[in-house]
Symmetry: C2
Subunit: 416 residues, 2 copies
C-alpha cells in the first residue's frame, strides 16, 4: 500500500490516491475518502445487488471484530474468510476492532486483553486470539489491537500513558505473530495512535508507532463526543506532524461533515462511514448541501432553511458526551415529522440515487411511521449516496482550494 | 376481465388465464395463481428494483384499505393514485379491505359501516368513504365493502344471516356509486361471498352476489384458523357450484400450501400471498418440496427429513384459532435455530433466487440472531420466489393430472 499525494497544503488537507491495495495490490482508493461501513457483517439492510446500484462506492469495506468475534469457530470451519461468508463481492476488507456506531462499555481492558461486545455479550481478546481471528477473517488490512479507553473526560494522565504503552506492546506482539504467519502474507497492518487529550502522549504514541513496519495509522480516542473540535484538531495536527507523509491516516469515530472537514485540514486521509448509518437508524435523511460548483446566488436560493432542523447545533458547545451520537444533527431532515406526510418531493432535489428518483418524502414518511423495513433500505441507499457525494465534493474542494466554500455550503452560513 | 378456462375437472381444479385485466385490458394472470402481497404499501422490505430481480411475478399487486385508509387526504391531494404514490411500477392494483396477515379486532361493524385498523388506530368506513377511498387509490379492481365478522366459532345463525344481508346491501350501494363515477370507469368490482360456516347461507350469499354485475368473487370468512379444512372445502364446493364458470374466485386468508391445494380442488382460482410474508416475519424460510418432475426415487432422496420442523402439524386437529397463523408450520425451517450456525448450504439446494445463489444458511442465521434487517430482505426474496414456484408447479399439476403427486410431495408422505 502506498499513498501517492497529488497535493499537500498545510491547512487545506492532502489529496491523493492510495495505491497497491489488496493482496493482488491492484486496487486503489482516493483520499480524502471514506470506507464502506458494515454493521453486523452487512452493508445495513442492502443486498449486494442493491448496493451496487450506487455508483462510485469505496473499494474498501470495513468490518469490525465486535460483530465478528463470536463467529470465530464458524469462520474457521468455513475456511474461506469473512468476505465470502457474508457474500460481499469485489471489495477489499479492512478489519477494525470496534464498531464506531456502537460504543462499547469501558472498564474491561487489562494489560494483556481488550474486550469487544457482540450480540451474545463480551468477548475478551488476547493478542493470540486477536491474531487467530484475523486468520479466520482474512482481511486485506487490519487495525492492530489497541487499548483505546481514554476518551472519557476524567481519564488520568497515568491511565493515558498506560494506554499508549499497552497499545505499543500489543502492536509489537501483533507484528511478531503476523510475520510468523503464512496465512497473513500480503496482509497489511495499521498501527494505532492513542494518547487521549494529552499532546505529549499523542506525540510519543505517533513517533513510536511510526518506527514500526506498519502500512498506515489509525487515530483512536478522538471520536465525536469525547472532546470538542478545537482540541481534536490541535491533537491531530500534533500527531500528523510526526507521521511519515506517504502513509495514510485513518480517523476513527468521526463522521459528521463539519468535523470531517476540520480533520481533513490537519492531515487526516480516511474516515469510517458509520455516520450515514446512524442517520438512517433514527429515520432521517442527509440533506446538507455540498455543491461547490453552484454560482453563489443560486447556492443561497438552494438552501431551503425550512428543510433542516437544528437539533444538532448544540453539539458545538463544550457540553459533549457520547449520547450526542444518537441525537439528530443539523445535516439531516427527520422524515417521521408530520410535515412530510403530504410532501411529494424527493428527499433531495437533483439527487440521482434510487430512492430520490423513485420515491417521495410522503412515502418515506408513511413507511417510517408504520415501521416498514423498506424505509431503512431506501434511507440507506440515499444516505450512502449523499455521504459519498460529500466526499467527492471534498476531494474537488481540496484540489481547487475551495474548502472554505465547501465549509460554508455545508454549514449554510449566509455571510458570503 | 374474463377467465378463459383451459381445463375444468371436478376434484382437480380449474386451469386457465384471466385475460383483459387492467384499465387497458392488456394484462393477464394465470390461474390457479396468487396476487403479489404488499404490507403497509410496499412489497415487504424490497425496493422495486430488487423485487424485479425475481422472475415470473404475478401481474397483480394487492393493497389493503387497512394500510391505506389513513392516507386518504394525502392521496386525494397527490391525485395520481396509490400505485404511483408507493412507487410501484408496471403492476395492476387490486384493493382489498383487510390485511390477511393482520387480523383485525371484531365487534366494530354496524349496519352502515365496517372498520379497518391502520397504524393510527381504527378507521370507520361508510360506503361513501369506502368509495371515496377507491377514487383516491385508483386500483384496477377492488373488493366491495363487506361484513366478514363470522369466522369465530360461536357466531350465531342470526349473526351470519345479518352478515350476508349487510354484505349484499353494501355491494348494491357500492355498485350504484361505482356506476355514477367517471373516475372509476374501467375499474372492476369483486362481490364478497359470506355465510360463515352455514351451508345454506353460503349458497344464498353466492347466488345473490352472482346476480349482480360483478367481475369476480371474494370468498370471505374461511381463513386459516376459522374452521378445519374439511368444513372449508365442503363450504367452498357448495359456493362454487353457484358461481358462473367464467368469473374468477379469490379466497381470502388461506395461504398454507396444503390448504391451497385442497381449495384449488373445489374450484378456487386465486389466493393472496401473505403466507410467505408471515414465514419471513418469524425468521423462517420456505423449504417444502413441490417438484413433480422428479423421478420417484430421487424425490424420496431429496426430502431431507431433518431440515424441517413439525410445529405446524398440530394445526390439522380440530383445535383451531387465529393465533395459529403466527405459529411455524411444517413447510419452513427456522433459521434462528442454533443448528444452522455452521451450515454453509443455501436455504434450498437448487433454488435459483438471489438469496440462495449468494448466501448460506449460516449467514442468514447470523443476520437473524443479530437482528440485521437484511435478513428480512433476503428471506422475502427467497420466500416469494419459493411460493411463486409452488404456484407454478400447482398449475403444471392441474394441467397434467398430477395433483396427487404434488400433494404427497408437499406433505412429504413416503407412502408412494
Amino acid at each position: 500500500m502506498k499513498l501517492e499525494l497529488a497535493r499537500v497544503v498545510r491547512g487545506t488537507g492532502r489529496l491523493g490516491v492510495l495505491r497497491g491495495l489488496g493482496r493482488t495490490a491492484q486496487h486503489s482508493l482516493e483520499v480524502p475518502g471514506c470506507l464502506l461501513y458494515t454493521h453486523l457483517g452487512a452493508v445495513p439492510h442492502l443486498t449486494q445487488d442493491t448496493l451496487h446500484t450506487l455508483s462510485s462506492l469505496p473499494s474498501v469495506t470495513q468490518v469490525t471484530l465486535s460483530n465478528i468475534a463470536e463467529h470465530q469457530e464458524v469462520l474457521e470451519e468455513f475456511k474461506d474468510g469473512f468476505r465470502k461468508f457474508a457474500g460481499l463481492h469485489d471489495t477489499l476488507l479492512y478489519c477494525s476492532l470496534h464498531d464506531s456506531a456502537a460504543p462499547c462499555p469501558t472498564g474491561y481492558t487489562t494489560n494483556k486483553t481488550v474486550s469487544v461486545w457482540g450480540s451474545g455479550g463480551r468477548i475478551e481478546l488476547t493478542v493470540a486470539k486477536f491474531m487467530a481471528l484475523q486468520k479466520a477473517v482474512q482481511p486485506d488490512w487490519y487495525q492492530s489491537m489497541a487499548d483505546g479507553e481514554t476518551w472519557q473526560n476524567n481519564t488520568s494522565r497515568k491511565r493515558v500513558r498506560k494506554s499508549v504503552d499497552r497499545t505499543l506492546a500489543h502492536l509489537d506482539e501483533c507484528l511478531l505473530a503476523h510475520q510468523n504467519s503464512q496465512e497473513l502474507e500480503g496482509v497489511e497492518v495499521f498501527g494505532v495512535v492513542e494518547g487521549g487529550d494529552i499532546p505529549e502522549e499523542r506525540v510519543r504514541s505517533a513517533r513510536e508507532t511510526a518506527k514500526r513496519p506498519v502500512a498506515g495509522f489509525c487515530l483512536d480516542g478522538l471520536q465525536t463526543g469525547s472532546m470538542d473540535q478545537a482540541l481534536r484538531t490541535q491533537l491531530i495536527a500534533a500527531v500528523t506532524k510526526e507521521l511519515p507523509e506517504e502513509k495514510p491516516r485513518l480517523l476513527q469515530g468521526v463522521g459528521r461533515p463539519d468535523e470531517v472537514l476540520a480533520c481533513v485540514e490537519v492531515g487526516v486521509d480516511l474516515f469510517e462511514s458509520f455516520f450515514p448509518f446512524q442517520v438512517t437508524e433514527r429515520g432521517c435523511a442527509l440533506c446538507f448541501s455540498f455543491n461547490i460548483s453552484l454560482d453563489p446566488e443560486r447556492a443561497v436560493l438552494e438552501l431551503n432553511e425550512d428543510e433542516r432542523d437544528t437539533a444538532g447545533e448544540t453539539q458545538h458547545n463544550g457540553d459533549v458526551s457520547l449520547d450526542d451520537q444518537t441525537r439528530m444533527t443539523s445535516f439531516e431532515m427527520n422524515l417521521k415529522d408530520k410535515r412530510y406526510h403530504d410532501d411529494f418531493r424527493p428527499l433531495v432535489e437533483g439527487c440521482g440515487c434510487y430512492c430520490c428518483k423513485n420515491h417521495q418524502r410522503a412515502y418515506l414518511h408513511h413507511l417510517l411511521v408504520t415501521n416498514e423495513l423498506l424505509a431503512g433500505v431506501l434511507l440507506t441507499i440515499h444516505n450512502t449516496a449523499h455521504y459519498q457525494g460529500f466526499f467527492s465534493a471534498l476531494r474537488e474542494a481540496v484540489a481547487g482550494d475551495k474548502l472554505d466554500i465547501l465549509r460554508r455550503r455545508v454549514l449554510r452560513e449566509r455571510k458570503e
